[in-house]
Subunit: 295 residues, 4 copies
């Protein structure tokens, strides 16, 4: 053996081969994007589609006022409905007890029903519901989270039962913690329990996405600026291709909702893309050869 | 042995002992808060202070218009300066190339200098700088991140060298990627390289915080709505007591900056607290018996 | 402002200040160890003890044939009982179905009972039980794990009900999945459900340890070379001070058990330390002033 | 809207649809395995192959004495060479300083060279090298790890320079920390720096595997019972299909090496499979139509 190392990992010359190959790919896809305004499903990376390909129009991409398309493989797409629980959008739940206007968070319900009805009608898009909540012994709740909730609730916080309430706030197994009837999961759908605003270090969501070989996410739920944004940020950091349906999400403050939408669109889509329920439903129906396309 | 299990974990009756003990603690601290408006350093949880205790005034807590105080143990506090890199706030960096107004992100520089000067003057508060950037072979960069940056940059994205630029955008080791001179780390400070917007699944930050036994974080950096918020969300989910200094952070859009600040304050502090550099400097100086307190 | 960066993070000269300070601490503790053979509870790092200090004798440390002591703060110690489920050490469970000798795994039961009785008698050491198992929809089970279990079980694997069995193998909620009666948790103890062999990316264990401000772990459970070792390796990588009680753990193969114990002791304790139930019980009783010390 | 929830997530009836669909798939693959003794590349999950399919013989699977085959898609396979650094298998490195026999760890070198030569000759199998090491400021090293290394090294541990040594032990950038010349990476290969024994919470390895859409891992490196096993355990928990090449790995103790190999094979392959370098090279050459097949 007469080997000599002739280079150093992580230095410019050593890394240039891998980088230039990847940048060449990016260059090609960039040229394609200029022609088609489409982020194509990358078969070079994920292999040929397993389900049906469909193109979803997204707004303000790459710049505000522009429109573009994202291509999905239905079999590798998961639809996330985040934290549509009584505690966040129903009467006598946590948000209600804190005194926020339920109208803002509950606005997301109807568009999400519309999407679910479409997905449940013969598609292979996976549906995943999440629920934020803590174990009944509160062991997975950070102390400062419990204390702050106690204070903002004037003595009624996580783990307490509000006067006239349905159960302990944000505790797994309580009625107020469960998903609202209108969006309740049906058999064949996944349910993820998470202890935090995010879901990647706070639940088994990353395992489930990996087990299902998911590459693209379509996201709805509440609240836009808290749990929805945190999950989308984490997923985006891990390389998932994320699109938020803006009418399928709501916040406790309308300005925060609007800003949360805008924040996603910065830098050409710093956390992914923004679309809406109608566009998504039409894209899915088109792929699955349904006649009843609406606008 | 004649044991019988007489209960079931995670069910109400089983869990009530742990929960009631914790809720009793919360009740006590809530009563204390009502008297003192202070989130005391929890010695029952972390033991007696190792450094100096100091109280920092935070704004709009628990409700907008209110003020409160958070108590820190200096030896268990880390000050985070997030991504103050040329790429995000300097000329010819990434943000500049995308065409955003540098004035908004660079506004964070002066207040952060002010804080650093104080911390470097004999305190035991740990200083941690982060840098977002990718390996020169781009192996740790998700493909959609690279592609979107290419598109928004009109052909010049992550890994490319802009015309007249300092080096490859967002690549470790390049001049544009490094921290700006005015905020450059000094020996005795920590530097964390992260591949994503967040830092808890994208860097060794969680290891470092754990090795230093940190409990409380004071956060500055850019951009407010992207990396700063993502790191703060992750840290908050893990139970760190987080405070953002609002004048030590900036965004590429002023409305997004304002909303990002407000989003933290919702629900009594859903991601922690908001203060500013003057308040923090005065709190620290007061604890370390400095005379030169300013306002 | 006339600042110049005069150094570079992560390079030798820049990092020497922090390193030398830490190595000086290590030097001091090394000299102390030579005198006392004790890994003292590091108050410089974690603050003064919140509970009672006690010293546990550990074997073959630093070298085979040596003995040393590890000092614990009872209030920051968690006792882990890993996966003592019917599926792993009871009749008609998963290990039984695969045809392994139950005697090897069930040997861990009696010593663990002995420890639990001591801990439950007025100590502040936290007790955490873990259970490996999958959601009833199998969404958190990797496909190759399910398939391999099917093959080794001659057609009866994870999710199947063996002939004459108690329920679906390794599925949450089934009788075979639950903890055996003799070691069943009591109110006041924590229960963690994990989807994998490990628990740090597969459960909320890291959150719970962090919420409880735990620094030291004492570990028992089954099987030694699989789940126990995986959890110990993860915890050790995160900086927890880990000790295995060797008679409180068992494997499906005695040689693998012996090797797993030895592997921990290599390199001066590459994954932590090894002790036994008698030594631990005596150390705890001594700290809590009990008379009934046995050997 | 007149919806009623008629079921409950995570309960038996709700979950049966997803479970039965998955178990049906398992049943089919189990029947296929009985006929072919092959773990086929699961195109139903990952899509059609992007590279070349090849079958690798693995030993003692499902039971000791049996043999089986695992099918790989070359484009989604990564070959891991773990920690082949001077510190672990070279003179004057960390293992040498601790007094272990270098012959045991260095036995892995020649078989790994043989594999690398094959992979570098026109295949699309990704090659990833890892290095264990700490930042020069030691910030990412747990204190107990440093202290134990100091004690076992009789005063010379992590961060120290041994007498006549090449540099600071286990510190990034030092000569002793780098990969040995014989196995030095070449351009086109990936290098991952990790702070722990494992790599999934201690490095960007999970990001890189995800960015490359890797599904199967072939593992070599040192030491078998420490870093190699920890990485394999983590990867297995995440659902990667893992195979260790037993002659491409070594330990500081031969009994520990043998046990580490055996531990993988328990329960039908509890952490994956075991093969060797000859079998792997032949499988790869066969797929890439090379004539020079050896045995």
């Amino acid at each position: 053996m007469n080997r000599r190392k002739n280079t150093t990992p992580n230095k410019e010359d050593f890394c240039s081969a891998l980088r230039e190959e990847l940048l060449q790919r990016v260059e090609t896809d960039y040229e394609e994007f200029k022609r088609t305004h489409t982020f194509k499903f990358p078969t070079w990376l994920y292999g040929s589609p397993r389900g049906k390909l469909f193109k979803l129009e997204v707004e303000d991409c790459p710049r505000f006022g522009d429109r573009a398309f994202v291509e999905f493989d239905s079999a590798r797409t998961a639809f996330l409905s985040i934290d549509m629980q009584v505690d966040f959008c129903g009467p006598k739940g946590y948000v209600d007890v804190m005194g926020y206007d339920l109208g803002l968070t509950s606005a997301a319900i109807k568009p999400t029903i519309y999407v679910l009805e479409t997905l449940r009608n013969g598609t292979d898009i996976k549906v995943i519901h999440t629920r934020e909540g803590h174990l009944p012994d509160l062991s997975d709740a950070p102390y400062n989270k419990i204390l702050r909730s106690k204070i903002i609730g004037d003595g009624v916080g996580i783990g307490n039962i509000p006067e006239g309430g349905l159960g302990r706030l944000l505790i797994r197994g309580e009625k107020n913690w469960d998903i609202i009837d209108d969006l309740y999961p049906i058999p064949g759908e996944y349910v993820v329990d998470k202890a935090g605003k995010g879901a990647f270090s706070q639940s088994n969501l990353p395992l489930i996405l990996k087990n299902l070989a998911i590459t693209h996410l379509v996201i709805t739920g509440i609240t836009t600026d808290v749990c929805v944004h945190t999950v989308m940020r984490e997923a985006n950091d891990y390389g998932y291709w994320c699109t938020l349906l803006k009418d399928g999400t709501g916040a406790t403050d309308y300005g925060n909702y609007q800003a949360a939408i805008k924040q996603i669109k910065m830098q050409g889509g710093v956390f992914g893309w923004v679309s809406d329920s109608n566009k998504f439903v039409n894209a899915v129906k088109s792929a699955f050869n349904r006649s009843e396309i609406v606008d």
